[in-house]
């Protein structure tokens, strides 16, 4: 409750007035119920009473809305079931991680009631939200469906090495993969060393994007050149970063001249990289989601034969989560939605390659029949990377500080930005 009533920093009245002017539209959003109990208090109640409080309410979910497949799953499959079973109206609105952190900071400055009940987060966004006390919790561990979560997996149980501590509920799991077309590249490289040779022997046919996916690729290479993920685990240390990034930037110095356009330009985001790959300007794309090759091929965005491959040096796997903002007006509704999204049927639907292809966070052995068999059957898709392969080469994320420093230094050294 303290979070709801006492903003962490109070500024002069003039500042609040200005901030109030800026956030007035979201503060006045219709449907803001204003439950007097926050998620931590609700977590102490019997689940039935949480569901009763949520019944008939409206849940605003701030999330990335850039993928038609994800939007179709949320709007066309999740929302109708929430309406039928809980009389909950789900409204999904645009808001990526960094933007929603900024939005919540300004809302707190204004003392405004929140414009969203649920947010889709992970990694440095969770780190920023927690460091700024912008999330309610703990609540996630008390969801009934949390019993099926694969809590033994370090990928699911730790978010970029951070303990979720009940402030976010796992929703999906993905693994980084390169994407290639077997017709163009019948014998693709499967290690960083082989990729290095391939880049040198195919000048202008490889690049990465400037955004989160590209930085994850660079982190993958950084792990491979620095002896794996182990030396970087245990929190951010500048000395370890310097050692690992030194090897990475030496590698980049040696291969960048062979990149697309000699490394003088980089696609802005992974969508732009997909475009270059689909149009034959480069021979590889990449994705955080190992199943994106299949889903994007189905959408006609990637070539029909596009396949994913994981590098044998290890590729980064991570999970994504759902959080409840400090000023969410309807935390009970948000908890019911998060619980439904953890259910085997919602996780299975989401994992289907013809729907979204987002990996489940449930442990099949903890689920009742027929779910274990159904989840295992998903892995038999001939277009998907076999589950055993994914698990064998999965490496976890490290502390967000590595991502922040790497992105900043890459911009400064390779692109010239950042001073």
């Amino acid at each position: 409750m303290a979070l709801l009533t006492s903003p962490r920093r109070r500024g002069p009245r003039a500042r609040l007035l200005l901030a109030a002017l800026l956030v007035a539209p979201s503060a006045c959003a219709p449907g803001a119920g204003g439950d007097p109990l926050d998620a931590a208090r609700l977590a102490e109640l019997p689940w039935d009473s949480v569901v009763e409080r949520a019944r008939g309410s409206r849940v605003v979910w701030r999330m990335w809305r850039g993928d038609p497949a994800i939007n179709a799953y949320v709007d066309g499959w999740v929302a109708p079931r929430l309406r039928d079973r809980f009389d909950i109206t789900l409204v999904a609105v645009e808001g990526r991680g960094p933007e929603l952190v900024n939005q919540l900071v300004v809302e707190r400055e204004a003392g405004a009631r929140g414009g969203s009940d649920l947010v889709w987060i992970n990694g440095e966004t969770f780190h920023n939200l927690r460091s700024e006390d912008l999330l309610q919790g703990p609540w996630a561990g008390t969801l009934p469906q949390a019993a099926g979560v694969d809590s033994a997996s370090a990928i699911v149980a730790r978010d970029f090495e951070q303990d979720p501590a009940g402030f976010e509920s796992p929703w999906g799991r993905v693994q980084f993969a390169l994407i290639y077309d077997p017709e163009r590249t019948p014998d693709p490289p499967t290690t960083v060393a082989a990729l290095t040779d391939w880049i040198r022997s195919h000048p202008g046919r490889f690049t990465h994007d400037q955004s989160f996916t590209g930085m994850t690729f660079l982190k993958t290479v950084m792990y491979a050149l620095g002896g794996g993920v182990a030396p970087l685990q245990g929190g951010f240390r500048e000395s370890d970063y310097q050692r690992a990034s030194g090897a990475l930037f030496a590698w980049l110095d040696s291969v960048t001249p062979h990149f697309w356009r000699g490394g003088s330009a980089y696609p802005g985001d992974v969508a732009a990289l997909h475009r270059l790959f689909a149009n034959g300007e480069v021979d590889f794309s990449m994705s955080h989601n190992q199943n994106e090759a299949a889903t994007k091929a189905r959408q006609g965005i990637l070539p029909p034969n596009a396949r994913a491959l994981v590098l044998r040096d290890g590729t980064i796997a991570n999970a994504h989560y759902l959080g409840i903002p400090f000023n969410a007006p309807n935390p009970a509704g948000a908890m019911v939605v998060a619980d439904f999204l953890l259910s085997p049927e919602a996780q299975f639907q989401k994992a289907r390659p013809d729907v979204w292809g987002d990996g489940p966070v449930l442990a099949p052995e903890r689920l009742p029949a027929p779910w274990p068999e159904r989840f295992r059957a998903l892995e038999s898709d001939p277009r998907a990377v076999p589950g055993d392969t994914l698990r064998a080469y999965a490496v976890p994320e490290v502390a967000p500080g590595y991502h922040e420093r790497l992105a900043e230094e890459w911009r400064r050294r390779v692109r010239g930005a950042g001073g």
Partner: protein
């Protein structure tokens, strides 16, 4: 008579009230900008917004951001694109206005066709430029079919290119109709009588064009050209699709900082936002200076 007197000579209190109402209306329009500038100033000083230290005002962030080479490279690049797009669009608009100023069906068709891009959103124009000018775009595919190039890499880079040619062409195409509309209006209201007078005094076609038509057009189009320049310098969506990664255009750099993984760097966007506002203010000031100079030389 009473009606004529009251229209011609309003009471002093009414005139004063009209001025006050005018200023109030202008203030209302400027209010969102003013609030934004004040908030950005507080953010630039580290007093509000993401990553604010909560330690009171400090100019450290402003000094650090303005000390970055990337900021000034991005600013100069944005100004170059804005200047080139505005110049090309202004010249094109003047040409359209002069070439299709008559009342024949061909003139009307020319004017109508030149205005069509007005209906196209900037983002759609940028996507179109990408599909046409990209190294795997329509032009490249035609060149490939004709045997002029053997693959995408041999197509000259017109998008994500260091000079921003693709972006300049897209923005020129998008802004030309707006300026052509203004140019046609200027010629229709001010040009004809002056041109006829010049011809009557024996001036030839080129002399009329250079000494009468162009100066008339230039003065009339100047406010619109300044508006186009400031808009293009600060526009994001076309640059996001077509601008290179190095240097990074000022609007893209601003957004990149606003969404930086490190919370402490997000406040940099406030400094960059203020820089963009300052550039727009300078453009308006330059317009006022040029307009005043034009009035003096005209008088």
């Amino acid at each position: 008579m009473a009606l004529t007197r009251s229209a011609g000579r309003r009471p002093a209190t009414w005139r004063r009230g009209r001025r006050v109402r005018g200023v109030a209306a202008a203030a209302l329009v400027a209010l969102p900008v003013g609030v934004g500038v004040v908030y950005m100033t507080l953010g630039a000083l580290g007093m509000v917004g993401p990553g604010s230290a909560g330690n009171g005002a400090s100019p450290a962030r402003i000094a650090r951001v303005l000390g970055e080479r990337a900021v000034w490279e991005g600013t100069l690049w944005s100004l170059w694109v804005a200047a080139a797009s505005t110049a090309l669009a202004t010249l094109g608009a003047a040409a359209v206005a002069v070439a299709y100023r008559g009342t024949r069906p061909l003139d009307r068709a020319g004017r109508t066709l030149s205005l069509l891009p007005l209906a196209v959103p900037h983002l759609a124009a940028a996507v179109g430029a990408l599909l046409v000018l990209g190294q795997s775009g329509l032009l490249a595919r035609v060149a490939l079919r004709l045997g002029w190039i053997a693959g995408p890499a041999q197509m000259p880079a017109l998008v994500l290119d260091p000079w921003g040619w693709g972006l300049i062409l897209a923005l020129t195409w998008k802004e030309l109709p707006f300026l052509a509309l203004v140019a046609s209006s200027v010629l229709a209201t001010h040009g004809t009588a002056l041109e006829e007078t010049a011809r009557g005094l024996g001036a030839g076609p080129w002399a009329v064009l250079l000494r009468v038509t162009w100066p008339t057009l230039w003065r009339g189009m100047l406010p619109a050209a300044v508006a186009v320049f400031t808009f293009v310098a600060g526009s994001y969506e076309a640059a996001a699709l077509l601008a290179p990664s190095d240097p990074l255009a000022l609007p893209l750099l601003t957004w990149e900082r606003h969404t930086d993984a490190a919370l402490t760097r997000r406040g940099d966007a406030y400094v960059l936002g203020l820089l963009a506002v300052a550039l727009a203010a300078l453009a308006v000031a330059a317009h006022e200076w040029l307009a005043a100079r034009g009035r003096r030389s005209g008088a």
